[in-house]
C-alpha cells in the first residue's frame, strides 16, 4: 500500500496516561512509524513537548472552534483520562464533588446532567475539533480508540470521506462489569456501525462486539496487544525485608478488576503462611469497600493500598513482587501482565482475560475460584523453582510478542479498508 498518512484519534498517550490505553497507543504509533507510516496524532490534551519524525501531534485543546456552546464548561477541569474508565458508581461520587465545586453555576441542573454534559461534552468538543483537523490535514485512514474518540472518527470521516478503523481496547460491558451506561453504549454502537473495520484486542472482546453490538464477525479483526522492546527495566533486587513475600495487584480498584477476589484469597493464604504482604496499587471507587473488607477479614496489617504510582515506581513494584496477580472479572486484554513479566515476575491471571489467550507461561484461574487462587499464590511463593521457571519462560515468550508483528496486522486492516 502507498504508505499514506494515518489520522490517529487518541485519548491517552504515554508517558502521560492512567491506564493501558496510553501505553498501547504509544506502542502502536512507534511501530507504525518504524514500518514507514506517517501519523497525525490528535490528543485532547498534550501536557508535554514531543517532536518526532513522521509524527505530528495535534493538541486538540489548542484548536479553535467557533461554537460558543462547547466552551461553556471548559473552565471546569475534569480529568477525562480517568473518568473515561470509571464505573457508574464513581460517576456519582465525581458528580457530588463537582456539585460542591460548582454548585452555583449548576444548581439548576441535575447532577447526572452536569456530569454527563461535561464528559460527553468533552467527547463532543473533541469530535468537532477532529473534523476541523481532518479538513486541514490530508490522510488516508482514520484510526480511533474506544468510545471516547468514536464520534471524532465519524466526524472526521464525514469531512474527509476516508475509511475509519475503530480499535476497541474495551467495551462498555467490560468496563462496567455488566452494567453498561446507555449513552456510552450508543456511541460505541454508532462508531462500530460507521467504521469499515474494527480491531479488537482479544478474541473475547471480539465476541462481545459481535454479540452485544450486532456487528458481523468478519468485520472484526483480532490484534492482540504486545510489548515494546525498550531496554530491560533496571532490576533493583530489593524486597521489603528478607522474609516477607509480596503479592502484587495493580489496576483500578473497580468491580471489573476483581481486587476483592484477591483479598478473599489473601485471607486463605495468610492462614497457611503469615509472612506475606498484599500490595494493591491503583485507586478507584472500591477502595473504601476493600479497606473495610480487609479489616473484617482481620488481615488489614498484611494489606497495603498505595494509591496511584508513576511509571518508574510501578516497575520497581513489579520487581519487588514475588508474584503479580490479575484477578479481573472481565479483562479485554490486561497489558499489566506483560509489564510484570517484563520485570521478571511470575504472573497469575484470570481466565477471563484477553492476555490469557496469548501468554502460556502463567498460572490461570477463574476469577471467582478463590481457593484455587490461594493454592496458586501459595505454590508460587513457596517453591522457588516454580516461580523461576514461570518467570523465565514467560520472559522468553514475551520476546516473541512483537508490536512490529502486530502492527503489520493493523496495516493489513488499513489496506483492506482502502481497497474497498
Amino acid at each position: 500500500m502507498n504508505k499514506g498518512k494515518v489520522l490517529m484519534l487518541g485519548w491517552e498517550y504515554a508517558p502521560f496516561y492512567s491506564g493501558g490505553l496510553g501505553i498501547v497507543t504509544r506502542s502502536i504509533v512507534n511501530s507504525l512509524k518504524k514500518q514507514g507510516m506517517d501519523i497525525i496524532l490528535v490528543l485532547p490534551k498534550v501536557p508535554f513537548e514531543l517532536n518526532e519524525d513522521q509524527l505530528e501531534i495535534i493538541n486538540a485543546s489548542k484548536v479553535k472552534i467557533e461554537s460558543p456552546e462547547s466552551i461553556i464548561y471548559s473552565d471546569i477541569e475534569i480529568n477525562s483520562l480517568l473518568t473515561a474508565y470509571s464505573t457508574s458508581y464513581s460517576y456519582k461520587e465525581r458528580i457530588n464533588k463537582l456539585i460542591e465545586i460548582g454548585a452555583k453555576e449548576m444548581s439548576d441542573k441535575t447532577a447526572n446532567e452536569v456530569y454527563g454534559t461535561n464528559l460527553f461534552n468533552e467527547v463532543e468538543r473533541y469530535a468537532q475539533k477532529a473534523a476541523k483537523i481532518a479538513e486541514k490535514y490530508p490522510h488516508q485512514v482514520i484510526h480511533t480508540h474506544d468510545w471516547m474518540t468514536a464520534k471524532a472518527g465519524l466526524a472526521a470521516k464525514k469531512v474527509s470521506n476516508k475509511p475509519m478503523v475503530m480499535h476497541i481496547h474495551a467495551t462498555e460491558f467490560e468496563r462496567s462489569a455488566g452494567n453498561p451506561n446507555q449513552d456510552v453504549y450508543e456511541i460505541e454502537r454508532e462508531g462500530m456501525n460507521g467504521a469499515s473495520k474494527i480491531i479488537a484486542v482479544s478474541e473475547r472482546t471480539k465476541e462481545k462486539i459481535v454479540s452485544n453490538y450486532g456487528v458481523s464477525e468478519d468485520k472484526v479483526v483480532v490484534v492482540h496487544n504486545a510489548i515494546e522492546k525498550y531496554p530491560q527495566a533496571k532490576r533493583i533486587g530489593k524486597k521489603i525485608n528478607k522474609t516477607d513475600k509480596i503479592v502484587l495487584f495493580l489496576g483500578r480498584l473497580t468491580l471489573q478488576k476483581g481486587a476483592e477476589f484477591l483479598l478473599e484469597a489473601a485471607e486463605k493464604v495468610l492462614r497457611h503462611k503469615r509472612r506475606v504482604k498484599f500490595v494493591f496499587i491503583g485507586h478507584g471507587d472500591m477502595l473504601p469497600f476493600l479497606i473495610k473488607r480487609s479489616i473484617d477479614l482481620g488481615i488489614e496489617k498484611k494489606v497495603m493500598f498505595t494509591g496511584f504510582m508513576d511509571h518508574e515506581d510501578v516497575d520497581k513494584a513489579y520487581q519487588m513482587a514475588d508474584v503479580y496477580v490479575m484477578p479481573s472479572v472481565d479483562e479485554p486484554f490486561g497489558i499489566t501482565t506483560l509489564e510484570a513479566i517484563k520485570n521478571g515476575t511470575p504472573v497469575i491471571i484470570s481466565k477471563q482475560s484477553g492476555v490469557s489467550e496469548v501468554i502460556v507461561n502463567a498460572l490461570k484461574v477463574d476469577f471467582w475460584d478463590i481457593d484455587e487462587l490461594a493454592n496458586q499464590i501459595l505454590s508460587v511463593i513457596r517453591y522457588n523453582p516454580l516461580s523461576k521457571c514461570i518467570a523465565q519462560n514467560a520472559e522468553e515468550e514475551l520476546k516473541r510478542l512483537d508490536w512490529d508483528k502486530q502492527c503489520k496486522k493493523i496495516m493489513n486492516v488499513y489496506e483492506q479498508v482502502n481497497s474497498k
Binding site: 492462614r271 502460556v360 498460572l363 493454592n375 501459595l378 505454590s379 517453591y383 516454580l386 521457571c389 515468550e397
Partner: protein
C-alpha cells in the same frame, strides 16, 4: 530358516494419576490416586480397556489362531496390572488367554514405570524384583529380557541388567548414536564397569546362577514403528494411506534380519482410533508378511536365532521420547528436578519403614504411595519444552499447564509427607511406651 522377521514389542502402561489436591486441604484426602477428577483413573482404565486392550488382545488371539507363526512380546507395567485387577479383571484374563497360545513373551521392567535408574539403583533393582514376582504370580512366567522405563538406556543400564541376569535389553535405534550401524540386526551392548556399590546391588538382585558375559541388544526401528504409531492416520503424510502391501515392501526391500517394531499398545484403538483402519491393518499384516517369507519372533527368539552383528556403545543416556531422544521430557527443567528430588530424598525414611513386623499394613500403604509417586508420567506432565515453544498441542496431559502439574504433584507429595510424619511420630511414641513397659516389668 526365515531370513527376516518382525519383532513386535508392545508397551502397556497406565499411571496412577494423582487426585486433585488443593494446598488448603492437605491431609484431608482419602486417596491420592483417584485421578484428577473424581474416579478418573477408573474411568480412563475402563475406556482404554474397551477401546484398546480387550479388542486388540482379541484380535491378536484370532490372528495367532489363524497364523501360528505370529509372535509378540509385551511389557506390562506393574501399575497397569494393579489397575487392571482393581478396575477390569477381564483385561488380565484376556492377557492370560493370549499367553496360553505360547506365542507371547513378557518382558521385565520397573514395577512403577519409574525413573529409579537415575536416582537410586537400590530402588531400581527392587522394582524389577517386584515386577518379576507380579508377573510370576499372575502369569507364571519368568522374564529374561529387560525394558527400562521409556527405553532409558546406556552401557551402564545394559550391564546392570546383565548382572541381574537378563539375556537381552531393548533400546531406541536412534541413528545419530549408532555410528552408521543398522538397527535391524542383533547387537551386543558394550561391556563396561559398574561401580562396586551398584554392582553389589545388582548381585543381590540377581535371579540366575548363569549370568551372561554379554547382554544382547535389540534396537527399535523408529521409522517403521512411528509409521504405525504416529503417522498411520496422518492425511498430510505423503505415504497416506498406509497399506499392508506398502509396509511389507519397505521391510522386504531393506537390509536387515529383525525389524523391531516397538509400540505403545494404546496405538491400537486409542491413539489411532478404530475408524482409521488400524485394526484392519494389523489383521492383514501377518498374511502379507508371511507370503513374502517374513516371519515373526519374540525378543528372546530373535536374539537366539540371529547372529550378533557387532557391538553398540552408548555412553550418554537416551530414551525413546521426542526428537531429542534424551531425558529432557522428564528431568529437563527445574520444576521436574525439584519434584523428583523431593521424592527420592525420602528414600532413607522409606527404607526404615521396610523393617519390622509391627503395623506392617500401615507401613506398606505408605511405601506404596511413595512408589506410585515415582511413576514417570507425573514428571512428563511438568515438561515445559513444547509448552514454551508455543507448541501446546504436543503437551499430552490432563493438566492445564506444566505448572499446574507441578503444583498438584507437590500438594499430593506434601500430603504424603504429612502422613509419613504422623506415622513416624506415633511409631516413636509406641516404642518409648513399650520400652518403659519393659522396664516396669523388669
Amino acid at each position: 530358516m526365515y531370513k527376516k522377521s518382525i519383532c513386535f514389542y508392545f508397551q502397556v502402561h497406565q499411571p496412577w494419576r494423582l487426585s486433585k489436591v488443593n494446598i488448603l486441604r492437605l491431609a484431608e484426602q482419602d486417596d491420592l490416586f483417584e485421578g484428577f477428577g473424581h474416579g478418573d483413573n477408573k474411568a480412563v482404565f475402563k475406556k482404554v480397556a474397551e477401546k484398546c486392550y480387550l479388542p486388540t488382545n482379541k484380535l491378536l488371539y484370532s490372528i495367532i489362531k489363524k497364523h501360528p507363526e505370529v509372535k509378540v512380546t509385551f511389557s506390562l507395567s506393574g501399575v497397569f496390572l494393579d489397575q487392571a485387577e482393581c478396575f477390569d479383571k477381564r483385561v488380565i484374563k484376556s492377557f492370560k488367554k493370549l499367553l496360553d497360545t505360547g506365542n507371547v513373551e513378557l518382558m521385565n521392567e520397573t514395577y512403577y514405570h519409574s525413573l529409579a535408574w537415575l536416582f537410586s539403583k537400590k530402588e531400581f533393582a527392587h522394582q524389577i524384583k517386584m515386577h518379576r514376582s507380579k508377573i510370576w504370580k499372575l502369569f507364571k512366567r519368568r522374564p529374561v529380557f529387560f525394558r527400562n522405563t521409556e527405553l532409558i538406556y546406556n552401557n551402564q543400564v545394559a550391564n546392570f541388567a546383565r548382572l541381574i541376569g537378563f539375556n537381552g535389553i531393548v533400546a531406541e535405534g536412534w541413528d545419530p548414536l549408532l555410528n552408521g550401524q543398522n538397527p535391524n540386526f542383533v547387537y551386543n551392548a558394550k561391556t563396561c564397569d559398574i561401580h562396586p556399590e551398584d554392582r553389589k546391588i545388582a548381585d543381590d538382585a540377581c535371579f540366575t546362577k548363569r549370568r551372561n558375559h554379554k547382554i544382547k541388544l535389540l534396537l527399535k526401528n523408529y521409522r517403521l514403528s512411528d509409521d504405525i504409531a504416529f503417522r498411520f492416520s496422518n492425511k498430510d503424510w505423503p505415504e497416506y494411506p498406509l497399506t499392508v502391501e506398502k509396509y511389507a515392501d519397505w521391510i522386504e526391500f531393506s537390509d536387515g534380519n529383525t525389524y523391531n517394531l516397538f509400540l505403545d499398545y494404546e496405538t491400537f484403538g486409542e491413539h489411532q482410533w478404530e475408524e482409521t483402519g488400524i485394526f484392519e491393518f494389523l489383521r492383514k499384516l501377518p498374511t502379507e508378511l508371511l507370503q513374502r517369507n517374513i516371519y515373526f519372533r519374540t525378543v528372546s527368539e530373535t536374539i537366539k536365532d540371529y547372529r550378533v552383528k557387532g557391538e553398540i556403545d552408548i555412553h550418554n543416556l537416551i530414551s525413546w521420547a521426542d526428537e531429542s531422544r534424551d531425558l529432557s521430557a522428564w528431568v529437563g527443567n527445574r520444576i521436574q528436578e525439584a519434584a523428583i528430588k523431593a521424592v527420592y530424598d525420602l528414600e532413607p525414611r522409606i527404607i526404615a519403614l521396610t523393617k519390622g513386623k509391627k503395623r506392617r499394613e500401615e507401613k506398606d500403604a505408605l511405601i506404596e504411595i511413595w512408589r506410585r509417586l515415582q511413576t514417570s508420567d507425573h514428571f512428563y506432565y511438568m515438561c515445559t519444552k513444547y509448552w514454551n515453544d508455543g507448541d501446546v498441542h504436543k503437551y499430552f496431559s490432563h493438566y492445564e499447564s506444566p505448572y499446574n502439574a507441578f503444583i498438584n504433584f507437590m500438594n499430593c507429595f506434601n500430603d504424603f509427607v504429612l502422613q509419613l510424619d504422623k506415622f513416624e511420630q506415633q511409631d516413636k511414641k509406641d516404642k518409648i511406651e513399650s520400652k518403659s513397659e519393659k522396664i516396669h516389668e523388669a
